[in-house]
């Protein structure tokens, strides 16, 4: 808990400065108390605190681990922090953005190092499977029952049969294509035709989210016994497999190929009078899109369990769902939320969303990906 203590001290420093500047408030007193008394007291305080009152509301510091682009100016993470802190004035939300994502915490658990965070935001199904395959102990705690609003999350987005990870948004993997160059491909088989020779750029499923989703989509459609043959066909027809979404999309922008695996929200970025929308057509193969929900889960080792659950509840409120959708450019996870604005107008949802469930991925996903990569790399 060294890190927590350190952050607490920083909190005192900030509070002290604020005091000097003549803006002492209740919040700074609470923070100073937290820092000097240590984190154990804070935990008790938070878990005994009620959620309704503002006078005796929860207090302390909530450490949220997430990916770096979730934080910073104008992001969903920063909006959540500000809004949550104004709802609970005695609470401070801090972010940790480890470069290797959830692996950081799996490895910490394996090595017996402390988990210095309360909540992980940005977990997908494959990652949750990996967490459970790697660890004998639990990394995340069941939360769905204690989190109000989780029953309103769309049924087909639930990625965790154990109710630890709660989805807060989802993207749909689709094709983005240039309609002046190619027609929209109707089926996976049509991608093998000469019309689509050298036409598709996708990403490496070993380390790219959309690349992995596209691979899983093909396995979903072709079956675990057939997908390698199908991919051999794609390779023979000149598919390009690049590192990650950004290089792939950039190559698409530079005209290397007329189709790229991307997200169905592409036109949220590209619309309006001075944009050539023909370059940004969204294609749903088989009228499908592969759903890639993002979820949040509380660490078992969190010493702010109640506060973590309040935060998850907050992220599922209608207001937060709209803000997350617009700022993260992903679809809301909760039923009946309509983000409106540009997002509401230009984000396209596939007629038939497909995805693999947790149970279908367990014991399979690593092997599928490695077989695929070996197949492509030996070409």
């Amino acid at each position: 808990m060294r890190r927590r203590t350190f952050l607490g001290r920083t909190g005192v420093g900030v509070a002290g400065l604020a005091g000097l500047a003549g803006c002492v408030g209740d919040g700074s007193d609470g923070e100073a108390g937290t820092a000097t008394e240590g984190s154990t007291d804070t935990a008790t305080e938070a878990s005994t605190g009620t959620t309704t009152g503002t006078t005796a509301g929860p207090s302390g510091t909530l450490m949220v681990a997430t990916y770096s682009s979730f934080t910073g100016e104008d992001t969903a993470g920063n909006w959540l922090k500000s809004a949550f802190e104004s709802e609970y004035p005695d609470v401070t939300v801090e972010f940790a953005t480890p470069e290797n994502g959830v692996n950081q915490f799996v490895q910490r658990k394996q090595q017996g190092a402390p988990i210095d965070a309360d909540l992980f935001v940005g977990l997908n199904t494959g990652e949750l499977v990996r967490v459970d395959e790697q660890l004998d102990e639990e990394l995340f705690a069941p939360a769905a029952d204690g989190v109000e609003g989780s029953d309103r999350v769309k049924q087909d987005l639930w990625i965790d049969p154990d109710g630890r990870a709660i989805p807060y948004d989802t993207g749909y993997i689709s094709l983005v294509y240039d309609e002046d160059e190619v027609d929209e491909p109707d089926t996976f088989d049509s991608l093998l035709e000469p019309a689509y020779e050298d036409a598709l750029i996708t990403q490496n499923a070993q380390h790219s989210d959309p690349g992995r989703a596209f691979l899983l989509w093909t396995i979903h459609e072709k079956g675990p016994d057939q997908y390698l043959d199908y991919w051999q066909g794609l390779v023979d027809n000149g598919v390009q497999i690049m590192d990650d979404w950004q290089p792939a999309y950039n190559a698409y922008t530079e005209g290397e190929a007329p189709m790229v695996v991307s997200y169905s929200t592409d036109q949220v970025y590209y619309h309006g009078e001075d944009v050539d929308v023909s370059r940004h057509q969204v294609g749903f193969i088989n009228d499908q899109g592969y759903a890639n929900p993002e979820a949040m889960a509380r660490f078992v080792d969190s010493d702010q369990p109640a506060l973590a659950e309040r935060f998850m509840e907050f992220a599922l409120t209608e207001e937060a769902q709209k803000e997350i959708a617009v700022r993260n450019v992903q679809f809301p996870a909760v039923e009946g939320v309509e983000p409106g604005g540009d997002f509401g107008e230009y984000a396209l949802e596939p007629p038939e969303p497909v995805t693999y469930s947790y149970d279908e991925l367990v014991g399979n996903v690593s092997g599928w990906i490695e077989q695929w990569a070996r197949q492509v790399a030996t070409n």
Partner: protein, 592 residues
């Protein structure tokens, strides 16, 4: 002057201690997983990789069927020696060899130009040759796409000539070219330094004794250039053997290297297989390093650094345009396309909007970030400041460490090559292995006497950078130091100077050129370093220019484009170019 007497042993001890904590312990903790499983030593993971045709191609017979090899070779020859399966290791070595050849071909004429000709801007050009070295791969990929892509500038140039279009993206050719972009400057830099320290009097002596210019070059100059050329070739081979982001960003998974696989295994948390691949990779590159060091020790000739060779003016009226200069002009055209093209494209991208028109939106974005107050906002100025601070700190640590290693290396004696190889090991270990090791040991912390000791923060970042950077100092300094006349030191010592004083007062001023070159490399390593910086920096607020750039890649507030990242890349270019000029100029004062 007791402190004087113990300075060198103390320096050696400090270097070894720093290496043990920041390199051997972390890397060892990763590699151990390859040979230590379930509580006991095992060779099973190694055997598994070595017998898998996917990894080693036809070489798997060495493990799976060693007795059948003669028969197999005979059969293969009888079949007309068709191409064989190289496997991941074989392919990686193949592309590294191609990349090394390309880097030498592209780098060597540059050294000739810089060492032997005088022209306006020569020193500036010499300073910034190292620039490609600091560029993050994603930026290089962007520059290469804009330059060599299907609709890139290169094809636009070829069009009017009735040539092309060439389609390079996705091919081995563009990967090799990108590797040459990174490593040819290394060749240029190292060979230029060596060329400039060739004693003019030796050449003149040869000439007065009747040698032709060509003969004088072959017998006097070339032997003194060879060690630096071999150093550059070896480093290029090792670097491109361990390449991974460029392969994926420009070539694709079909051209996968060992490092691509290693990274994928780490991400899948299959650390045993990752460690096995890392061990094999390290063994290969350490072996190469050791072989090279033995060669280098045999090459170094005694001589004293005297006056350097004179430079001919590059332009001296139209009549001076002889074959040599026409050749250099052609080379300049190639260099313009390969080096300036991608960098210029990067700068152009930073002021070009999605519709192709001029825009300052991305620089406005940087300013806006600078004003931002939200948690996790990556502000450009702190990134610049951190990069410069870490770079300066790295110089302070890496220069003494590098010189100490050079002194150990030139002292000779039994085992000094092996000792040097071990002290040079940071060059030979993949960045992924080092990063993973640092994470597992120093960042997570270790239980020590009941306390968890965690090493993070600026000090740790600087130390990690210095460990990665000092081998470049010693690779520059060792050949120069070894080339000095031993009698100079003997004379100083007989007059009562300690070994350390003789080094500082006599030897180092004589090898100042090499020292400055090493300093530039050390600074470049620090500025360009990404993996360990990200892992060791504390919290969300200590970031360097490459880290900021990487975060801007992920920032899509201006839509899915690289505009903000290219703007940051342009800032990185400007700041580092200015720094290298300063290092060269300040260091240059030592030269005379």
């Amino acid at each position: 002057m007791r402190a004087d007497r113990v300075a060198i042993p103390a320096g050696v001890a400090a270097t070894v201690a720093a290496l043990a904590v920041l390199f051997y312990y972390p890397v060892g903790s990763v590699l151990a997983a390859a040979v230590y499983q379930g509580g006991r030593l095992t060779l099973a993971p190694l055997a598994e990789v070595l017998s898998d045709p996917f990894y080693v191609g036809v070489a798997h017979y060495l493990v799976t069927d060693p007795l059948g090899i003669p028969g197999g070779v005979a059969e293969w020859l009888a079949a007309g020696a068709p191409s064989v399966r190289l496997g991941l290791f074989g392919f990686t070595a193949y592309q590294a060899a191609l990349s090394t050849v390309a880097s030498v071909l592209l780098g060597l004429p540059g050294a000739y130009l810089l060492a032997r000709f005088e022209f306006p801007g020569r020193r500036l050009l010499r300073s910034v040759t190292i620039l490609p070295f600091v560029l993050p791969s994603i930026m290089v990929a962007v520059g290469f796409l804009a330059m060599f892509g299907r609709t890139g500038v290169f094809n636009d140039l070829l069009g009017p000539l009735g040539l092309g279009p060439v389609e390079l993206v996705g091919t081995l050719e563009i990967v090799v070219l990108a590797h040459a972009f990174y490593n040819a400057p290394l060749v240029t830099r190292l060979v230029t330094t060596a060329w400039e320290s060739v004693d003019r009097r030796q050449v003149e002596t040869a000439r007065t004794m009747g040698a032709s210019p060509l003969r004088a070059f072959r017998d006097v100059v070339a032997p003194q250039l060879l060690p630096s050329l071999m150093t550059a070739a070896l480093l290029t081979f090792v670097f491109t053997f361990m390449t991974f982001p460029i392969v994926l960003a420009l070539g694709g998974l079909e051209l996968a290297t060992v490092e691509v696989w290693l990274y994928a295994r780490v991400q899948d948390l299959d650390l045993a297989e990752a460690a096995t691949l890392g061990t094999l990779e390290t063994a290969l590159s350490l072996g190469l390093t050791y072989a090279y060091l033995r060669y280098e020790a045999a090459q170094v000739q005694a001589g004293s650094a005297g006056e350097s060779l004179g430079r001919a003016p590059l332009f001296d009226g139209w009549r001076s345009l002889d074959a040599r200069r026409l050749g250099l002009l052609a080379y300049a055209a190639v260099a313009l396309v390969v080096f300036v093209g991608p960098l210029a494209s990067l700068v152009v991208e930073s002021v070009t909007g999605p519709d192709g028109g001029f825009t300052l939106e991305y620089y406005a974005f940087l300013l806006e970030q600078q004003r931002g107050v939200a948690v996790g906002t990556v502000r450009p100025l702190p990134a610049v400041r951190n990069s410069l601070l870490f770079g300066a700190g790295t110089l302070l640590l890496a220069l003494p460490m590098g010189v100490v290693v050079s002194v150990v290396a030139t002292r000779g004696g039994r085992g000094s090559r092996a000792a040097e190889a071990l002290l040079t090991a940071p060059l030979a270990v993949s960045g992924i292995v080092v990063g993973l090791g640092l994470l597992q040991t120093l960042v997570f912390g270790t239980e020590l006497f009941g306390h968890r000791v965690v090493v993070t923060g600026a000090g740790a970042v600087i130390a990690a950078h210095a460990v990665a950077a000092y081998p470049f100092v010693s690779r520059n300094v060792t050949p120069a130091l070894g080339g000095l006349d031993g009698r100079l030191v003997d004379a100083a010592r007989s007059l009562g100077a300690s070994r350390a004083r003789a080094l500082v007062d006599v030897e180092l001023p004589l090898v100042a050129g090499a020292l400055v070159a090493g300093a530039a490399f050390a600074f470049a390593i620090s500025v360009g370093e990404f993996d360990s910086t990200v892992l060791l920096a504390e919290g969300v607020d200590s970031y360097t220019m490459p880290v900021a750039l990487e975060r801007y890649v992920g920032n899509r507030s201006l839509g899915p484009n690289l505009g903000p990242a290219t703007a940051m890349g342009t800032v990185l270019l400007a700041v580092t170019a200015a720094s290298f000029v300063v290092i060269d100029r300040v260091g240059g004062r030592w030269e005379r």
